[in-house]
């Protein structure tokens, strides 16, 4: 039980990243995301990183990102959920029918009644959680593989949604309900600044209270300047994000309509920023809540322990069957929450809502570093993964990449993300990964930029290949 005595470590200067104790994997993801943003921004002549596009990007990401946080738990416990898109559709159908048919016709609430939106959302959340829990029961207690249960669920819930609505598009949805959709519900500039300031203060407080807790237990802490720098980065990011969202001005046509509704006219030189969308706020709250569950509760601890070693979790007295039910119930709840955002954004419930979302959600979680072998994954990674995918998709649409190519690229990026992750962990794979890139990158360049660039990059790839061969890397 003793370690072999190791030579006293010579104190050496710690590198910047070591001092900051930042997850290098997270850093890699952020770098990739930054690269994508900058590249698209250059290609679109500054339109990609405009306040308007950042605003749109963030509200487009919300639905998939909310579900991706739940998918992290599912995948961490070594399961999979293929039914999330279909479940979203069923929840959306329940909520739409509540608003348009059941509440007005059966309960006698007239359209526009204040209670319609809360009751509809409540019904959707209950339905989603119950369906998720039922699927979890099939997986946990009846030991049917999650792949099969949710593959079946994919068909079942997609068509339950169809049956509930008779295949019709149900809309328009309740005005209050639409507030969760994004552009129809924003906090306005002042409230956004207030929330941003509170969040920034909270971030600083969290960084330093964690430090204080460590000191009180006499654990080693990172240097004060590193904590300060970290806190400063958080503050800049939070306030910067709020500032950008506030900078997106409500178009003049829309302003006129708002003022006309109040019987006024728009004053000369008047302008108004959108501020933080409620849907984005919802995502942030979900991400925080899920992170707290993952890191600070027994439930989260057991989820990760079960993913790391199901037998040891069982032997430690964890009820892994019931845990599975809980994990799928959380997933179902989040599907319902996503359904609120998705249908509110479209202002109606359409029959194809959430189609293929299961793949986007799984891809977001996996790009975000969740290991399909279980036990590993982070909530912020999944949100970042969703953001990366959405950025790719809309960036390509903005520079006019053909639709089939867009999907090809998103698919390739998914594989690429996992390949890079494996190369990061398994040194033996690195040469093969390098070779793979030398072959694939010129082909991608051909697709995007045409023959001239392809020729240049192909030559560069061959030269690099020969160079690495000589060096003995390949």
């Amino acid at each position: 039980m003793s370690d072999t005595a190791r030579p006293a470590q010579t104190p050496r200067r710690r590198s910047l990243i070591e001092s900051l104790e930042i997850d290098t994997r997270l850093l890699g993801m952020i770098a990739a995301f930054a690269l994508i943003c900058i590249a698209f921004d250059l290609m679109t002549g500054g339109r990609f990183l405009s306040p308007r596009n950042i605003f749109n990007l963030s509200i487009q990401t919300v639905s998939v990102a909310i579900m991706a946080t739940g998918m992290v738990f599912v995948i961490v416990t070594r399961h999979i959920d293929l039914s999330v898109g279909a479940l979203l559709a069923t929840c959306s159908a329940v909520m739409a029918m509540m608003q348009q048919a059941w509440l007005p016709n059966l309960m006698g609430l007239e359209l526009g009644h204040w209670a319609i939106a809360p009751l509809a959302i409540l019904a959707g959340l209950v339905a989603g959680t119950a369906i998720g829990a039922a699927q979890g029961w099939l997986v946990g207690y009846l030991t049917i593989p999650a792949f099969i249960v949710t593959l079946g669920g994919l068909l079942v819930w997609r068509n339950v949604a169809w049956y509930l609505t008779g295949g019709q598009t149900i809309g328009p949805l309740d005005e209050n309900f639409q507030l969760f959709g994004g552009i129809n519900g924003t906090l306005g500039t002042s409230w956004s600044w207030i929330l941003g300031a509170i969040a920034a203060a909270a971030a600083v407080w969290i960084v330093f209270s964690a430090r204080r807790a460590k000191i009180s237990h006499e654990f080693p802490v990172k240097p004060l300047w590193a904590e300060g720098a970290l806190a400063a980065v958080f503050v800049v990011l939070i306030l910067g994000f709020v500032g950008i969202l506030n900078a997106y001005q409500v178009p003049i046509g829309r302003l006129r309509r708002i003022f006309e509704a109040r019987g006024e006219t728009v004053p000369e030189g008047f302008s108004m920023g959108y501020g933080l969308p409620i849907s984005v706020l919802l995502l942030i709250l979900v991400a925080i809540a899920m992170t707290v569950i993952a890191r600070k509760t027994r439930l989260g601890r057991y989820i990760f322990a079960t993913g790391g070693n199901p037998d040891s979790a069982e032997l430690s007295g964890i009820n892994t069957r019931f845990l599975t039910v809980k994990v799928f119930a959380i997933m179902g709840f989040l599907c319902a929450l996503s359904a609120v955002v998705a249908s509110a954004r479209l202002t109606n419930h359409a029959n194809d809502i959430g189609t293929l979302d299961e793949l986007r959600v799984i891809a977001a979680a996996v790009i975000g570093g969740t290991a399909l072998s279980g036990g590993l994954g982070t909530i912020y990674g999944a949100v970042l993964g969703a953001l990366i995918m959405q950025s790719l998709q809309s960036g390509m649409a903005m520079i006019g990449v053909d639709a089939p190519f867009q999907n090809i690229v998103v698919g390739a990026v998914l594989v690429e993300a996992v390949l890079l992750d494996i190369a990061y962990r398994v040194p033996a794979v690195r040469p093969k990964a390098l070779l793979f890139h030398l072959i694939v990158l010129p082909i991608l360049i051909l697709m995007f930029f045409g023959a001239l660039y392809f020729a240049v990059s192909a030559v560069a790839a061959v030269v690099l290949g020969v160079f690495f061969k000589r060096k003995g890397v390949l």
Binding site: M1, H217, V292, T297, R301, Y302, N309, L315
Partner: protein
């Protein structure tokens, strides 16, 4: 000397368990007194691990009774065993490789704050304290246990078993993966725990080791109990004969 006049700490009476028609454990009775180490011996597949898993809650016995302090108890899962202060160090160690030492040590029994959140600071502090006693060279408190050496992992598993005031400790081949120096530390630990009045079931293949560490040896063959002997009344050859031939030594057979 172990005092065997009082009530045994644990008594397993007529335990049977079978898997698909094969009787893995067939009417076996063993008891354990405070401050005693009972070795469980036998070939692979003799049923010793299966027997002990009925006590640790990993398996459910088909028939038989388990008494703790003379009172019959029902052990249907690992949680039940833990509530009776029966702790197990499994051969596989049963660690969650992706979690760090303190998360593993407290797995299933986390220290929580007043708000119900897990208190990582307090748990790490406790882990540092107990590891300081068990394995003073242990440093990697923030690394997942997959990054630890075999001996370090073993010490995490042992710490987990002894931290929560265990009264009965089950050790399934605790030294199988260890070097000589680490094996000696386990032996010292067993001695210390014995002095504190714990009862220990030790599953081991090494007859020499059992002779050295145990007070009594229970030998199993084909799911049946060959016999329980006091180790200082028999030779190593006698024990080997029990394991291989399934016969009790002649001077004790009567």
């Amino acid at each position: 000397m172990v005092d065997r006049t009082g009530t045994p700490l644990v008594e397993m009476r007529d335990i049977s368990i079978s898997f698909g028609g094969i009787k893995a454990v067939d009417h076996v009775s063993v008891d354990l007194f405070p401050g005693e180490v009972v070795g469980l011996l036998g070939h692979n597949g003799a049923g010793k691990s299966t027997l002990i898993k009925c006590l640790s809650g990993a398996y459910r016995k088909d028939a038989g009774q388990i008494f703790v302090d003379g009172k019959e108890v029902e052990i249907t899962n690992p949680r039940d065993a833990r509530t009776h202060n029966i702790e197990t160090i499994y051969q596989t160690l049963a660690l969650a490789d992706n979690l760090d030492a303190s998360a593993n040590l407290f797995l299933g029994r986390e220290i929580t704050t007043a708000l119900g959140f897990v208190d990582d600071g307090a748990m790490e502090a406790e882990t540092r304290r107990i590891m300081g006693r068990l394995n003073p060279n242990f440093r990697k408190f923030n690394a997942p246990v997959s990054a630890l050496s075999g001996g370090q992992r073993q010490s995490v598993a042992i710490a987990r078993a002894v931290y929560f005031n265990a009264r009965v400790l089950i050790m399934d081949e605790p030294t199988a993966a260890l070097g000589p120096q680490e094996t000696q530390m386990v032996a010292d630990l067993i001695d210390e725990l014995k002095r504190q009045g714990l009862g220990i079931f030790l599953i081991d293949h090494d007859v020499h080791q059992v002779k050295k560490l145990c007070d009594r040896a229970a030998v199993m063959k084909n799911g049946e109990l060959v016999g329980v002997v006091k180790v200082d009344e028999v030779t190593e050859d006698d024990i080997l004969a029990m394991i291989i031939l399934g016969k009790k030594p002649e001077h004790l057979a009567a």
